[in-house]
């Protein structure tokens, strides 16, 4: 291509953040080009599997009614794993069964193409199989991109290129990537009949379960396991801090961790007879607010994982709702900037304001302390082990007479909880 083409907005990456942005811009009549390196949107994307819809309803009214969602989650489980024992807490609530549903499991290779289709219907042009290699600059401002040796000019470039964002790097907006700010997840999708899934998890038709695991499954490393039920598959995976993997002696690979997780008696019967149909891996930004890049520059905005917008509190994993909302807010910013015909940092800083006013940065602000709190290894070895062992001792009837419950509890507590535990508890209190 000799002559550079010009569009109003170029979006790098057709994940949730990029597609959400494209959807809104196209709906407002702007000329939008989304460039995706995968064969189709969704072909490179990995998630655990659950999307919280309530925070998104005002951003995309009615959009979800025909979305390819898997199951609505009605059962939440949390499992603390010790070496030979575990404790599971299960929450079922009628509230989870009320429409509109609270959260849904999804598979990205189905969901993203659907969203892309919606954006295309509004007029966005989506170009797959094309990798953006560089940004184009003029006098300190971003004026476009280079993809497959073609130059495309734009008023604004939106970096929606995911957790490992070369665009953020090239725009000079990011900090140095630190291993402690990222985790890496490995996941298997396991095929089972929908009947078997409903029976094993005690679900009615269409209902789903979500289960998070922490403790000995990660061999003391910062991280955990997850299980989400889809219509006729189960998404099962482990996520571990990159730093933790680096420091582990002797080294322990993630795929082996996943295999031993699958062998655990808490997991094995749930996937028994199922056929693994896919193995995937992806990184997750876990550094929280402190490790976020600058989200706007001259002629450029950063959305979704590329902006570090993800949150893992151990109980809740979020990133997809943040990605979708940040894409929508970037679109709003661009529409306002367009009216002023001003794409300077001062004009585009509106995006950061909008993020701060929304659930996205409010959520990350509330859980600001979480990333540092989760670096505490006691959470992944001592406490889950102590919890399941103590309960086991309470339930156990041996030959000798049973001691008082308070005696058992006191001894167990003294074994596990030393002064550091008081400090840890105080920190939980602040979260």
């Amino acid at each position: 291509m000799a002559e550079a083409e010009k569009v109003e907005v170029v979006i790098v990456g057709a994940g949730l953040a990029g597609l959400a942005c494209a959807y809104h811009l196209a709906a407002a009549g702007l000329e939008v080009l989304v460039i995706e390196r995968g064969d189709f949107p969704g072909s490179k994307n990995v998630t655990g599997g659950r999307l919280y819809l309530h925070p998104l309803r005002s951003f995309f009214p009615h959009l979800w009614e025909e979305a390819p969602l898997e199951r609505h989650v009605t059962k939440e489980r949390l499992t603390a794993m010790g070496k030979g024992s575990s404790v599971t807490v299960e929450l079922s609530s009628e509230r989870f069964k009320e429409k509109p549903y609270h959260s849904h499991t999804i598979l990205r290779a189905k969901f993203d193409p659907w969203l892309a289709e919606r954006a295309a219907q509004k007029g966005a042009i989506i170009v797959p199989k094309s990798r953006v290699d560089d940004l184009l600059w003029q006098e300190g401002r971003v004026i476009g991109i280079v993809a497959s040796e073609a130059e495309i000019h734009a008023d604004v470039v939106v970096a929606a290129d995911g957790a490992f964002s070369f665009m953020v790097e090239k725009a000079g907006l990011g900090k140095r990537r630190k291993p402690q700010d990222y985790a890496v997840g490995a996941k298997e999708v396991i095929e089972l009949t929908s009947g078997a899934i409903e029976e094993r998890f005690g679900l009615s038709h269409g209902e789903g379960a979500a289960q998070l695991f922490f403790g000995s499954l990660t061999e003391g490393m910062f991280g955990g396991g997850f299980l989400y039920t889809n219509i006729d598959t189960i998404s099962l995976g482990v996520v571990v801090g990159i730093n933790a993997l680096m420091e582990k002696e002797p080294g322990f690979e993630l795929h082996r961790l996943l295999d031993s997780f699958k062998e655990r008696p808490e997991v094995k019967p749930l996937i028994e007879g199922g056929h693994p149909v896919e193995y995937s891996a992806h990184i997750v930004p876990e550094g929280g607010l402190e490790s976020m890049p600058q989200v706007y520059g001259h002629g450029i905005l950063v959305v979704g994982d590329a902006a570090g917008l993800a949150l893992n509190t151990g109980l809740i994993v979020r990133g997809m709702d943040f990605a979708l909302a940040s894409g929508a807010l970037a679109a709003q910013t661009i529409m306002e900037a367009k009216k002023r015909n001003d794409f300077s940092p001062a004009s585009l800083s509106r995006y950061e304001e909008l993020l701060k006013e929304s659930f996205v940065l409010k959520g990350l602000e509330t859980f600001r302390e979480v990333p540092r709190f989760l670096q505490n290894p006691r959470l992944f070895n001592l406490y889950p082990q102590a919890l399941s062992e103590s309960l086991e001792r309470l339930m156990w009837i041996g030959e000798e007479p049973k001691e008082k419950i308070s005696t058992t509890l006191w001894r167990e507590a003294r074994r596990a909880f030393r002064f550091s535990a008081v400090r840890d508890l105080l920190r939980v209190w602040r979260i």
Binding site: V46, R108, P128, S148, F164, S235, H282
Partner: protein, 90 residues
């Protein structure tokens, strides 16, 4: 389930050109830790007989964990458009 069996579940479109480069001399001289061997969920990196790092870029899942862990010599990019892993579930 071996890592090869896991990767065999996935569809890959393999580029003839590798998207991962490593300076073997620098790697050998400067890196004692060899984090790439452990942080990669696809076991793209293995140790050769001479202590060099062997790279099976064909089975890369494109997560980027290796570059985050390596501060010595790894030059990693996404595969060219239309190449690499193709998820059908995701």
């Amino acid at each position: 389930m071996s890592i090869d069996a896991k990767l065999a579940l996935d569809a890959f479109k393999i580029d003839e050109e590798s998207h991962i480069q490593i300076d073997q001399t620098r790697c050998k001289e400067r890196c004692q830790t060899r984090y790439c061997l452990y942080v990669c969920p696809a076991q793209v990196y293995t140790l050769g007989q001479e202590g060099e790092i062997l790279i099976r870029y064909e089975g890369c899942l494109e997560c980027g964990a290796c570059t985050i862990a390596c501060d010595t010599t790894l030059a990693w990019n996404y595969p060219r458009g239309g190449f690499g892993v193709q998820y059908r579930f995701g």
